[in-house]
Every structure is written in structure tokens, then in C-alpha cells.
């Protein structure tokens, strides 16, 4: 059984997202689709899944062309998709989510709950998943939610599975578990498309690798005959430096001290539970950890956005525990937030307005309550030039810029001031490789200028490469302090799961 995409072309206003793309998957085979953000992978998969329609080209199974005008038709053709952002209703149970759309009912339309639960249990047992059909999805760990998504797809008799960036939110151990599942699926005769931008994983799991760049398929390679460096070059189109170049750190006096911090989350549950750390001038401290272990709340507390329940935060010796974000800003804090579109920028504002978003209230951008837009304009132009932001003008609305350029605007805004303390959360999420290099270099530059830098990232490679000292956060605690130069990814991964060497906590069980 063979799934083929031939000559798929899809145009959006101003850009060709897919340009005559070919892709073939056979049963029992894993094909990795690699490409950086914006290369067109997701567009291709959305076409396959019936969410978009291709302008040109065709899709065939075993030589028979298909029309896939909606997800229902794709599902009927045996194509199942596990999305990067799960398509699960958080407040429904596992069973409800799995049967949604194919509900077993009696004649008057009433749901047959027991039949649904049976189906879930059967499939669950078949693959050794061990999932409780009654569990509410939002209470499940991410790894388990992903398995619910897989069951959803299998229940609809999928012969081909598309996994879209499945490891984005998993620990190294959970990634290993996923690979075991992929093995089982492969052995069961399913064809799998594994979409990723993570080179290591593609090399590990795939039978074939297809590389996309700017809407075209640029290469199809055998994993055993290629390296990460080769793949990166293919993805970007030019030799790429995968290594962050930095001199060893020369840390000086402590700038930031966090003591026994306890912070509540939005649901009034304890998120950060007694975290302490010190950050010196001239060093980069990185926090590794899977998303959802309260790194967000920790960062919010440190930057003044959230009032801690207990504990202290000292900045250059001054107690800033309950100080507002504006006050932290005045004390030379630079904050690159983790979700740039939601918290870092106003998409409807112009570049100029975004550049002064957190400094408009003082000279030279304003005097008293009167804004001086002329000065703001000039500064914006200067920064756009200096940080190589691609935009038609500084009066362009920010929503027209690409993710990487949007992030550069934030970086420009934050780093162009005098800075003693930098907090950067997921600094290169959704950013193209070229911009990633640039942003990493700027961060190191700030460090060398004497700032204390705190990086929080769920991209283990990034945080290992950038940090001088590595902390691992799990379940609201700092569970380890490691030297990134000597520790291995696997060791860090164990700590991220709470079961690293020397920890008292047992390995985290999957929720039954």
C-alpha cells in the first residue's frame, strides 16, 4: 500500500507555500519530513488532511487518485493526523474525545457510553497504552494526551499516520517512549510521516528523510548516509553554524538572588515550590525542563508580573519581590517573553509603537504626558537597521512581519537599553534558523557586557548550548544544577523527569 503526493502546489497571497512537492510513503515505513519553520511542511500536511485544497497536483493511494475536500474524506481514505497542538477538547473525557464524530448511539441519538469506553480500552491494551477512558483530558500529562490522539486516529482505521512535530513538548524519555510506539505502528503495517525540525530525531527514527525548503522538496536522503550538518545545510540552503560560539564565562558579583520562592498559578495551586538560585553578572544561567513545570510562573514572579506567595527576590541587593513590571524595567531588566504574539508585541501596532512599548513613558520618547513620535520614529529606524529587521518601513503593522523578524523587534527593543538583568523565555521558538543564530549571538553579547542572563527554554539543545550553568526544573522545584559542558542529554532528561541521579523522588509514573 502506497500513499503518494505528486506535484502538489499551493499558493497563498504573496507566497507559494508548496511548489510542486512530491512525497511517497509505503506501509510499514517511516518517512521524516524535515524543514525549518515556513518551509511548507504543515501546509502540505493540511492539504493531505483535507483542511486546505491544493491548487495543482494530486494525491493517490495505490495509484488511485483521491479528492480530499475535508477531514472526513481523509479519514475515510485511511489518513490520520496527530497535530502538533492537540485537537482534544480539554474538558471532555478520553472516551468522549476519542469517539467525537463517530459516536455510537442508539436510535434516538443517545450516547452509548459503555461501548465508547470499551473501544478505548481495547485499543489501549493492544498497544500497551494503559489509559483510563474516564480521565479528563486536561488533567493528563502531555505524553499521555498524545497517546489519546494516537488512539483517536487508530480507532478510525488509519493506515497512514502523520505526526506533526510530535516531540515538541516531550522529555527525552517520553521521546523514547514515542519512538517505541512508532516502532509498533510500523510493525503493524502503518505508514508514518514524521514531521520535524529536529535533525537528531529524524536520523534516529526514519527510513527515509525528505527535506523541504521554501516550499520545494530539495532532497530525499537515506539517514544512514547523511549527518546533522548536511541536513541543516539542506534545510537552510547555506552552511549553518549549529554551535554557539562563546568564550568561557567570567562571572562577577551576584546580581540576582532568588530565595525560597513560592508562587501560585492561575488556578490558585502551588506552582513554584521553594526555588532558590543566584545569577551573577557575566554568566548565563539556563533553566531546562519540560513545559508545564512552572517555569512560566517562576519567570513571571521574577519579572514582577506575578506576586509570589512567599520568598524573596533580590536585584543588586534590593528586595524586589513585590515590585511591578514597570519598576523592574526601570531597574534595567530586559524581558523577552515566551509568547511573543500574546505578551511581547501588539500585532496591530506599528514597528515604531512596538519599539517604544515599554519605554514610552520617559524621555526622550515623551515629556510628561505628551508623546514625541518623531524621536520614537527615528529610534525605530535605527534599531531596524542595527538588528537587521526585515520590514518595509517602521510604520508597518507588526502582523505583517515574519516570526523571526517579530522576535528581532523584541530583542532590539530589550537589548538596546542599558541592561543589568536579562530574562529570555523560549527566545527562539518559531524562529527561522538564520535568526536563531543572530539572537543567540546577541544574548551572548549581553552576557559579555556584564549582564546577568537567565534563559528558560524547553529546547534542550538551545539551553545546553547557551548556558554557563544549567538548572533543571521539575514539578516546581529546581532538581539539579549541572555543568552543560560535561553532562549528557540523557542525564539532563532524567532530571527533567524528576528521576535524576541523587534525587529522592521516584520516576514519574504515567497516569493510569
Amino acid at each position: 500500500m502506497k500513499l503518494e503526493l505528486r506535484g502538489i502546489t499551493k499558493r497563498f497571497p504573496g507566497v507559494v507555500a508548496n511548489d510542486s512537492v512530491d512525497l511517497t510513503v509505503e506501509e510499514g515505513q517511516v518517512v521524516a519530513l524535515l524543514g525549518e519553520n515556513g518551509a511548507g511542511k504543515s501546509t502540505l500536511m493540511n492539504i493531505l488532511y483535507g483542511l486546505y485544497s491544493a491548487d495543482e497536483g494530486e494525491i493517490l493511494i495505490d495509484g488511485e487518485p483521491l479528492t480530499l475536500g475535508s477531514p472526513s474524506e481523509s479519514i475515510a481514505a485511511g489518513i490520520g493526523m496527530v497535530h502538533q497542538h492537540f485537537m482534544l477538547v480539554p474538558v471532555f473525557t478520553v472516551a468522549e474525545n476519542v469517539i467525537l464524530g463517530i459516536e455510537p448511539t442508539n436510535r434516538i441519538g443517545a450516547l452509548k457510553q459503555r461501548d465508547a469506553e470499551e473501544s478505548v480500552r481495547e485499543l489501549s491494551a493492544q498497544f500497551g497504552f494503559d489509559i483510563d477512558p474516564h480521565a479528563i483530558v486536561e488533567n493528563l500529562p502531555i505524553g499521555v494526551q498524545q497517546r489519546v490522539e494516537i488512539i483517536k486516529v487508530l480507532l478510525r482505521n488509519a493506515r497512514f499516520l502523520v505526526l506533526d512535530e510530535p516531540t515538541a513538548v516531550l522529555t527525552p524519555q517520553e521521546v523514547d517512549d514515542l519512538f517505541v510506539i512508532i516502532e509498533q505502528l510500523r510493525a503493524a503495517g502503518k505508514g508514518i510521516v514524521f514531521i520535524s525540525h529536529k535533525l537528531k530525531e529524524a536520523l534516529h527514527i526514519a527510513d527515509r528523510i525528505v527535506v523541504m525548503r521554501q516550499g520545494k522538496t530539495v532532497a530525499e536522503v537515506d539517514p544512514s548516509a547523511t549527518t546533522e550538518q548536511d541536513l541543516a545545510t539542506l534545510m537552510v540552503g547555506r552552511p549553518v553554524d549549529l554551535v554557539v560560539h562563546k568564550e568561557p564565562a567570567v562571572p562577577k558579583d551576584p546580581v540576582v538572588q532568588v530565595e525560597q520562592l513560592r508562587v501560585f498559578d492561575d488556578r490558585n495551586q502551588l506552582a513554584v515550590d521553594g526555588v532558590s538560585m543566584t545569577i551573577r553578572a557575566g554568566e548565563i544561567v539556563g533553566i531546562a525542563g519540560v513545559q508545564g513545570n512552572s517555569q512560566t510562573e517562576l519567570v513571571e514572579a521574577i519579572t514582577g508580573l506575578r506576586t509570589p506567595l512567599a520568598g524573596r527576590i533580590l536585584l543588586k541587593g534590593e528586595d524586589v519581590t513585590t515590585v511591578s513590571p514597570r519598576q523592574m524595567h526601570k531597574r534595567n531588566l530586559a524581558h523577552v517573553p515566551e509568547d511573543r504574539q500574546r505578551s511581547g508585541l501588539v500585532l496591530g501596532f506599528t514597528v515604531t509603537e512596538n519599539v517604544v512599548l515599554d519605554s514610552y513613558y520617559h524621555e526622550p520618547f515623551s515629556r510628561g504626558i505628551v508623546m514625541d513620535w518623531g524621536v520614537a520614529h527615528t529610534e525605530a529606524e535605527r534599531l531596524v537597521e542595527q538588528y537587521d529587521v526585515r520590514t518595509p518601513s517602521v510604520d508597518t503593522e507588526l502582523k505583517s512581519l515574519s516570526g523571526g523578524n517579530q522576535q528581532k523587534v523584541i530583542v532590539a527593543r530589550e537589548f538596546s537599553r542599558d541592561v543589568d538583568f536579562v530574562v529570555a523565555s523560549q527566545p527562539t521558538r518559531g524562529v527561522d534558523v538564520g535568526s536563531i543564530e543572530y539572537i543567540h549571538a546577541r544574548i551572548v553579547e549581553e552576557r559579555d557586557r556584564g549582564a546577568a542572563v537567565l534563559i528558560v527554554s524547553s529546547e534542550l539543545d538551545e539551553v545546553m548550548a547557551l548556558s554557563d550553568r544549567l538548572l533543571v526544573m521539575f514539578d516546581g522545584h529546581i532538581v539539579a544544577e549541572l555543568d552543560p559542558a560535561t553532562v549528557t542529554n540523557a542525564e539532563v532528561g532524567l532530571h527533567m523527569l524528576g528521576s535524576g541521579a541523587g534525587s529522592a523522588a521516584p520516576a514519574k509514573e504515567d497516569t493510569p
Partner: protein
């Protein structure tokens, strides 16, 4: 956590965002018109015309006696229909623009509308739905009323005092909703509507207390304000329009400066566009939410003050707000929440009101029709796609107006 754009291609990367301005910035500001003059004016113009057309149909269809006539003498009935509708709109036009008096009436009616429209527009720009202009007008008006009949001072002093009272009163009333929104997340649509009703009943009660009630009367009518508080006429005592109109224009100028040239206005707009980013940038969301509502309420309060201070017999009654608060929503939308747009929209609606009164008096067509026309105008403005599909035209601006983001704060 939240969506990143990892999986979305950016189809608009590198596109030009703005068009070169073909006219001076000041002109653009005043008229809200830029290089796309045709688009900016076409939809609102067509919206108004279409609304009037539908209004005409309603007039025709509601003449029950005439409808009966269709069975027996269709030609006569048709004639009758056309002359009724024509008569209605003709008298409307005459009532709005047909004489100096008509123009005075138009501007007179436009004054409170402009102020209330500014109130709602300020709210919209900051992402807040102020449906409570009605209640704020009442409270502001009552505050001005109280100051007006308590202190017997010359106009130079008394008028600003009354206006200040109105600002504080209206601002306070809206501020309640703002505080509730900021501290508890209670959506201001519900709270402001409830406050409207509360204001109404409060006024009914106040007008019967000895403090407010006119001596010698048993109905809810207040004492008249002292002469010093009466706003002077603009064109002389033959014409009803007062300097209240100038106050409204001045308010529009101030709001424009506030929103686009001040730090506070920048904060208002940022909160409206993305409250999260505003918070991360250090802005105080609680303070700003209350400040926006206060400003909005203050403007509405001024409208209430105008109703008391511009209109003989210069006293308060239970109906002095007269539905202005809801018209204001239409105004803000028509003016695209920009101050000068609101002024033009206010004059238009003032024309409708003045004309409508003439229409009711001469042709005896109930003035509620004007409400219907206004509702239709809102629909067409808020959904430009409707106009486009009716008239099969293409414009560049494809977006419908979006302000709501759900109930949660």
C-alpha cells in the same frame, strides 16, 4: 502552552503594510480618509442610503389602511404609498437642513450624540464595551443639575462647575463598571447595562426627594437650575443650539489629542489592542481599565449636562437621557471609533433626529423609525460584506469590526 507560529507559513512576509499618503496627515486625521478615499467613504455612504431605503419600505408596509386599499384600488394605493414615503423623507430633509432653524436643530441634536459617541468610541479603542452611556448621561446630568440649582453664581463660574460635576458623576458611574471589570473580571457589557437600570430608578427616586423636587409639584420633576448655569445660545435666542455644540467639538479635539499624542492614549490603545502585551510592558491594567471607563463616563456625563443646561425649562425629569446612550454605540461604529469620525456621524444622526421630529410632527410618522434606520446603519457598518454583496462592489478593507473576546477578563 499557547500557539506559536511554527506551523504557519507567513504568506505576507515582506509585504508592504502601508500606502504612501497622498494627502496631508491633518486631513487624514480629520476625515479618516487616506489614499483609499473611495473605500473609506463608500461603505458608510451606501450604508446610510440603504438604511433609508429600507426605512421607506417599512413606512410603506406599516400603513395598514393603505395596504387594505391595495385590494380595491392598487394604483391609488401605490400613489398614496409613494407620496407618503416621499413626504416623510422630504420633511425629514427639510427638518434637518432646510433652514437656519433646521440646521440649528440638527446641531442641537448632534451635541449630546457627539459627546456620547466619543464616550463609546474611547471605550472601543481600549477594547471595552461601554453600553452604559445611558446611565452615565443620567448620573452626570443629575450631578450638573444639583450643582446648577444649589449655587447661584454667575455663568463664568457656575458653568464650569456644573460641567465638572457632570464629568465626575458620569465618570464615577462608569468607573464602577471599570473597577468591577478590573478586579473581578465582570464583563462590562452586563454591568453597564445593569447600571443603566439602576441609574434610572435612582433618578426616579431622587426626583421625588425634597432636595431635588420642584416645590409645589408631586411628579418627578426637579427644581430648575439657576440662570448662571444655562448655556448661552450660539446663534442668538431664536435658535436652540447653544455653545454646548462647541463644547462637543472641543471634546472631540481633546480626545483626538489624548489618544494619539499622549502617553495615556497610547496606553489606552495598547490595552485595547493586546492587554497581555500591555501588562508585560509594564502598564497597569487595573488602573487603565478604570481610567478608560472613567474617561468614557465623563464624556457621557457631559452629554447629560448638556441636556440639562441647554434645554429649557432647564430641569430634570425621568426622560432627559432619551435613548442617546444607545444611539451612541451606532455613532462610534459609524465613526470607526475615531474622534472626528464620531463628529461627522453625530451630525448625521442629529440630522436624522431633527428631521425625524419634523417627520413625526408633519407627516405623523413615529420617530421610532429613526431607531430602526440607525440599527440598520450599524449592521451595514459592522458587516461591510453585507453592503458589498448587496451592491456587488469590491473594496480593499475586508475586515469586519471585531472587539469582543469572550466573557473572561
Amino acid at each position: 502552552m499557547t500557539e506559536s507560529d511554527v506551523s504557519e507559513p507567513d504568506p505576507t512576509e515582506g509585504n508592504a503594510g502601508g500606502q504612501p499618503a497622498s494627502r496631508s496627515k491633518l486631513y487624514q486625521e480629520i476625515t479618516g480618509v487616506g489614499g483609499r478615499a473611495r473605500d473609506a467613504l463608500l461603505v458608510p455612504a451606501l450604508a446610510v442610503i440603504t438604511a433609508l431605503l429600507i426605512g421607506g419600505i417599512i413606512i410603506a408596509l406599516s400603513d395598514v389602511d393603505n395596504l387594505r386599499l391595495f385590494r380595491t384600488d392598487p394604483l391609488e394605493a401605490m400613489n398614496e404609498t409613494i407620496s407618503t414615503v416621499w413626504g416623510a423623507y422630504r420633511s425629514m430633509f427639510v427638518g434637518a437642513f432646510g433652514s437656519i432653524n433646521a440646521i440649528s436643530e440638527t446641531l442641537f441634536a448632534a451635541t449630546p450624540l457627539i459627546l456620547a459617541g466619543l464616550a463609546v468610541a474611547v471605550g472601543f479603542q481600549a477594547g471595552l464595551f461601554n453600553i452604559g452611556a445611558e446611565g452615565q448621561i443620567i448620573i452626570g446630568g443629575m450631578a450638573a443639575l444639583y450643582v446648577g440649582f444649589t449655587f447661584d453664581l454667575p455663568g463664568i463660574v457656575l458653568i464650569p462647575m456644573c460641567l465638572a460635576a457632570a464629568i465626575v458623576g458620569g465618570g464615577f458611574w462608569a468607573g464602577i463598571a471599570g473597577m468591577l471589570r478590573a478586579k473581578t473580571g465582570a464583563h462590562e457589557v452586563i454591568t453597564t447595562i445593569m447600571l443603566n437600570f439602576i441609574a434610572l430608578y435612582l433618578t426616579q427616586w431622587l426626583l421625588k426627594t425634597t432636595v431635588f423636587q420642584q416645590p409645589g409639584r408631586s411628579d418627578p420633576i426637579s427644581k430648575p437650575i439657576n440662570e448662571g448655569a444655562q448655556l448661552p445660545y450660539l446663534f442668538g435666542s431664536e435658535y436652540r443650539v447653544t455653545i454646548g455644540f462647541l463644547i462637543a467639538i472641543a471634546a472631540a479635539v481633546l480626545v483626538q489629542a489624548l489618544m494619539y499624542r499622549s502617553t495615556i492614549g497610547f496606553e489606552f490603545r495598547a490595552v485595547g489592542a493586546n492587554a497581555d502585551a500591555a501588562r508585560y510592558a509594564g502598564m497597569n491594567i487595573v488602573f487603565l481599565t478604570v481610567a478608560v471607563m472613567f474617561t468614557s463616563g465623563a464624556l457621557a456625563g457631559l452629554a447629560g449636562a448638556n441636556q440639562i443646561m441647554s434645554l429649557p425649562p432647564y430641569q430634570g425629569s425621568t426622560a432627559f437621557s432619551g435613548g442617546i446612550g444607545f444611539d451612541a454605540i451606532a455613532l462610534a461604529l459609524l465613526g470607526r471609533s475615531k474622534p472626528y469620525g464620531v463628529v461627522w456621524a453625530g451630525i448625521l444622526f442629529g440630522a436624522l433626529a431633527a428631521g425625524g421630529r419634523e417627520m413625526q410632527g408633519v407627516e405623523r410618522i413615529p420617530i421610532d423609525l429613526v431607531e430602526v434606520i440607525q440599527a440598520l446603519i450599524i449592521v451595514f457598518i459592522a458587516a461591510p460584506a453585507l453592503i458589498r454583496s448587496i451592491y456587488r462592489i469590491k473594496t480593499a478593507d475586508t475586515s469586519a469590526v471585531q472587539i469582543t473576546t469572550g466573557w473572561s477578563a
